[in-house]
């Protein structure tokens, strides 16, 4: 579904090319103006020019560059993924912490310039879908990543031609973390966000795509989950419900580190975090932090490997992705990072305890965000969010 949508959008992005090829036959004022505008248009960030990665071999001086989240994420993935991959395949590889998925405008400029800031990185659904709409990603022939069939279907979007746009890297559920120094009783239900006894105690993400819409539509009986979020009137009803959270919010944050810092200084009592972060926080200081799988389920989220089409090492990138799909590699990542594996049931042998830690009640019980809605209505939704939700 996403692949088809992304494929349709890609066609609309071809127009700037025409602009660049416009020729001036007569210097009439109108034509000069239109050509200048077209030229500026091609200058100004259009996503379909140039690029086209050549397929070379990574070398020690020019290794395959892979990017993922920094901090503990990078430390563990370096140890459990990057180093073993290099040892086994001999392919020179280097990793870096980065935020390319949040910088699509800059990435678009880089791809236009024929540069690949990195050869592959993890992107969450909205960034992955938008990047595809902009024509930023290299698509893989299925034969380049034979194990893709083991991946959960929703984590391997394809083009109409059957090419792979992205392949799941890991699942990242969202859970509720309580700072026990501020709030005595752990938050164990999403309904706690509406509880006025937590006035000025909670931290919330400031962006409209923080999935509060999905949570609200899912947990209140008056809404029909994803279906309610299909219409503007449905979304407005949900937004009105979210307004009731505002008194409880003491901090609206952009990056999770801001909320974590607020918890460290006891300025924040609770927040929605990625489950893997919550598990680590709780493991590091059980007296202070409690990571709860809410009664109504975790919020399902995931990250997928994408390859900028300006990468010179698309084959090596595909080989790396193939490596990540090995059951033992998925197992190691799951055990150390507490993210959810992307392989279908029955392929991995995972203990019940670990399964509960990373999945909670399981994918069937999870709240599934309506990603396409966030893209289709982004401008309108952004305005409503600023008007109705943000202080």
């Amino acid at each position: 579904m996403a692949g088809k949508k992304e494929n349709n959008k890609q066609k609309t992005n071809q127009s700037p090319k025409k602009g660049k090829n416009t020729k001036l036959y007569s210097p009439s004022r109108r034509r000069v103006l239109s050509t200048v505008a077209a030229g500026v248009g091609t200058t100004a960030f259009a996503g379909c020019l140039g690029g086209g990665g050549e397929n070379g071999e990574p070398t020690a001086s020019s290794p395959l560059r892979v990017e993922f989240f920094g901090g503990i994420f990078k430390e563990i993935l370096d140890e459990e993924l990057v180093e073993p991959f290099h040892e086994e395949t001999g392919i020179p590889i280097e990793s870096e912490a980065g935020l390319s998925q949040y910088q699509l405008t800059r990435l678009n400029s880089a791809v236009q310039a024929g540069e690949a800031p990195v050869d592959l990185f993890v992107a969450q659904p909205r960034a992955r879908m938008r990047g595809h709409d902009m024509g930023l990603w290299h698509t893989h022939a299925p034969s380049a990543i034979p194990s893709y069939e083991d991946v959960l279907p929703e984590l391997r979007p394809e083009t109409d031609d059957g090419e792979l746009i992205a392949v799941g890297a890991f699942g990242v559920y969202e859970s509720l973390v309580t700072n026990l120094d501020v709030i005595d009783d752990p938050l164990t239900s999403w309904h706690a966000l509406w509880d006025d006894q937590h006035e000025d105690q909670l931290a919330m993400q400031d962006s409209f795509d923080s999935h509060l819409l999905d949570i609200t539509a899912h947990i209140f009986d008056e809404f029909d989950g994803r279906e309610t979020l299909e219409t503007e009137s449905g979304i407005m009803d949900v937004l009105e419900k979210i307004q009731e959270i505002r008194p409880q919010v003491t901090m609206w944050f952009d990056a999770e580190a801001e909320a974590q810092e607020g918890m460290e200084t006891n300025d924040v009592g609770g927040a929605k975090f990625f489950n893997d972060v919550g598990v680590v926080m709780q493991n590091e200081d059980e007296d202070k932090y409690y990571n709860a799988v809410p009664e109504e389920g975790l919020v399902e989220n995931h990250a997928a490997w994408v390859v900028p089409r300006s990468s010179s090492y698309t084959d090596a990138a595909a080989e790396f992705i193939e490596y990540t799909l090995r059951p033992e590699v998925q197992q190691r990542i799951t055990e150390n990072l507490f993210t959810a594996p992307v392989l279908q049931d029955g392929i991995m042998d995972i203990s019940d305890e670990l399964y509960a830690a990373v999945h909670g009640p399981g994918p069937d019980q999870a709240i599934r965000p309506n990603y396409q809605m966030y893209i289709d209505r982004e401008e309108w939704l952004d305005e409503q969010w600023r008007d109705m939700i943000l202080p």
Binding site: P16, G41, S100, L107, A110, P117, V118, D267
Partner: protein, 599 residues
């Protein structure tokens, strides 16, 4: 200009002035045609290429359509402008103006007594060391500066603990985000600019005039009001304008210290580009914002000129200004002499208090850098050098430091060369378009940095310098050139032209005059311009973020990115290294210029 006042109908003076004028004319014509062209053409070309053209691209982009859920394409629509005037963008604009105005007022109220007290009641050595410490706070990268404020204002921070401890409040009142925190961050960041500007103005006021005023019966407050304020007014207004523009263009402070209702236009613009990928709307917003900010700036300047014109043409007229002046005189006259005479003591204490306020975040940052824990905590629980080791052995931090120093050095040289040559051309050549060139000289300053970053991104991509150090150097060099322009222009106006004319009369060539007279007299202005540009470039985040691409990072970009993952003390360690390094550089250079820097 000065000669008109002197002539006054006296034939011998008239002849002498005419003679000097003739010498001056000969001096001007002696300048080779090519020399003039280069001096004029170099800054004009750079400013047009890297300030005007990107602004033009921005203007064109603002008319491109961008359907929801898609990327934008070439076309024409006024939708983005309609959206600005119909919707919530106006709220962001008024928030920005409110915060910038409050910041400018607070900075003036705090900086003026500081500058006066420093200038009048302390030795030159004390003045130099005091300003050096204030300058050191400017070396504190704005991101770490905001973090230091968050530590101090946190629920368990020293301010809240003090206020609760002494019983002034029952629970913490200061927050890590909010309007007060944003204003604090802005004032802390921009007060040094106001202080240095006002200090320079007050220093130029002849102190014997003050003595004369007091000998004639005015108390010290009345003297400040009637003697210092009018003479330093231009400097004070310049400081206000500078702080207003810097505040309105600030991104990091409102983003990190503000709640969403304190987010300013630069924050909205950045979010529109990064989150919404809505470049045309961001471009339209930029255009509207720049027009409003610059309109207000010009309005303020026009009002000032009008006030000055009225009071100078008819001192007895009951103009608004004269009414204000009279009100102030009466108000300060009502203050008993005993109290007014204690002003020096009060200002000395005040200076120490302000110094403590300025130094506190430095103390926080330096202390945290020695923390043994992996969180930035104040006070730290022990002593460790691990974060210095971490920074000094980290390839990415060392690379970022190298990039920042290289870019700041080159950008400051570029900014100074642009500003100096343009101001020299305006001052020394009789150009037909000198007023337009003056506008061109300050143009980069009145465009908020986020807009510069966005405007240059596509342009530099086309030029093949996007994602390169050269691109960031050019952008910083052009954007910060107005500081050098203003300072050198002021320096040139202060040079006694008779010295140059005398040298010309005695047969010195233009090159000799420039080398032996003009440049030495301009040295401190040039150095101040370079220093300002260097500091600003070193700490600049948003332009570097948009233009550095993915190939390299500067220190602010690296810090901002790392804050997404955690608040680690290595950020404090690198800030401390920054402070030490640059303070030593300023100190050494200051001794080289034998204290003239602060004039």
């Amino acid at each position: 200009m000065a000669s008109d006042d002197v002539v006054g109908g006296k034939p011998h003076i008239d002849r002498a002035v005419n003679g000097l004028q003739a010498v001056r004319n000969r001096l001007s014509t002696a300048i080779s045609v090519h020399g003039r062209r280069i001096v004029v053409g170099y800054p004009v070309a750079l400013l047009v290429l890297f300030a005007v053209v990107p602004a033009g691209i921005m203007l064109v982009t603002s008319f491109f359509p961008k359907p929801s859920g898609e990327y934008y394409s070439v076309g024409f629509t006024l939708t983005h402008y309609q959206r600005i005037f119909d919707g919530q963008a106006l709220g962001y604009i008024s928030t920005t103006l409110f915060i910038a105005t409050i910041t400018a007022i607070v900075c003036l109220l705090l900086a003026f007594p500081m500058a006066y007290g420093l200038s009048r009641f302390h030795s030159r050595a004390f003045q130099r060391n005091y300003l050096l410490i204030i300058i050191a706070t400017m070396w504190l990268t704005v991101i770490i500066r905001t973090y230091a404020i968050q530590i101090l204002y946190s629920a368990e921070g020293i301010f809240n603990r003090f206020l609760v401890g002494v019983g002034i409040v029952s629970e913490p009142v200061l927050g890590t985000t909010g309007l007060f925190t944003v204003i604090s961050g802005m004032v802390y960041g921009f007060l040094p600019f106001a202080l240095l500007t006002i200090y320079a103005s007050i220093n130029e006021v002849d102190s014997s005039v003050e003595e004369a005023s007091m000998n004639l019966g005015a108390n010290r407050l009345q003297t400040i009001w009637r003697v210092i304020v009018p003479q330093a007014a231009q400097g004070v207004l310049l400081a206000a304008g500078l702080v207003f523009i810097l505040s309105s263009g600030s991104y990091v402070v409102p983003r990190l210290l503000g709640d969403p209702n304190q987010w300013t236009v630069p924050v909205l613009i950045t979010q529109q580009i990064s989150d919404q990928l809505n470049v045309p709307f961001a471009a339209a917003l930029s255009i509207v914002f720049v027009v409003i900010i610059d309109g207000l700036f010009l309005l303020g300047y026009w009002l000032y000129k009008r006030l000055v014109a009225v009071s100078s043409t008819d001192p007895d007229a009951q103009s608004t200004w004269s009414k204000i002046e009279l009100l102030g005189t009466n108000l300060f006259g009502a203050v008993p002499d005993k109290i007014a005479d204690r002003l020096p003591v009060v200002l000395r204490v005040y200076l120490w208090v302000m110094l403590a306020v300025f130094v506190l975040p430095l103390v926080v940052v330096v202390s945290v850098s020695f923390s043994p824990s992996s969180f930035m905590r104040f006070p730290p629980s022990g002593l460790s050098l691990q974060w210095y080791q971490s920074v000094l052995t980290s390839a990415s931090w060392m690379s970022a430091i190298g990039n920042s120093l290289l870019i700041a050095t080159c950008a400051s040289i570029l900014a100074t060369s642009i500003g100096a040559s343009l101001s020299y051309a305006i001052d020394r050549f009789e150009l037909r378009f000198s007023s337009q060139l003056s506008v061109l000289g300050v143009l980069p300053l009145v465009i908020p940095p986020v807009i510069v970053g966005v405007a240059h991104m596509s342009y530099f991509l086309q030029l093949g310098i996007w994602g390169t150090r050269t691109g960031v150097i050019i952008a910083h060099g052009v954007v910060f050139s107005p500081f050098a322009f203003g300072l050198v222009r002021r320096g040139l106006l202060n040079i006694d032209r008779h010295l140059e004319e005398a040298a010309a009369t005695l047969g010195a060539t233009r090159r000799q005059i420039t080398r032996t007279i003009t440049l030495p007299l301009l040295a401190s202005s040039l150095f101040s311009g370079a220093l300002f540009s260097f500091v600003l470039s070193l700490n600049e985040y948003i332009i570097a973020f948009f233009l550095s691409g993915f190939g390299f990072n500067t220190v602010p970009v690296e810090i901002f990115a790392s804050l997404r993952y955690n608040y680690s003390p290595d950020i404090a360690a690198i800030s401390t290294l920054y402070i030490i390094l640059t303070t030593v550089v300023v100190y050494v250079l200051d001794r080289r210029f034998t204290l003239s820097l602060w004039d």
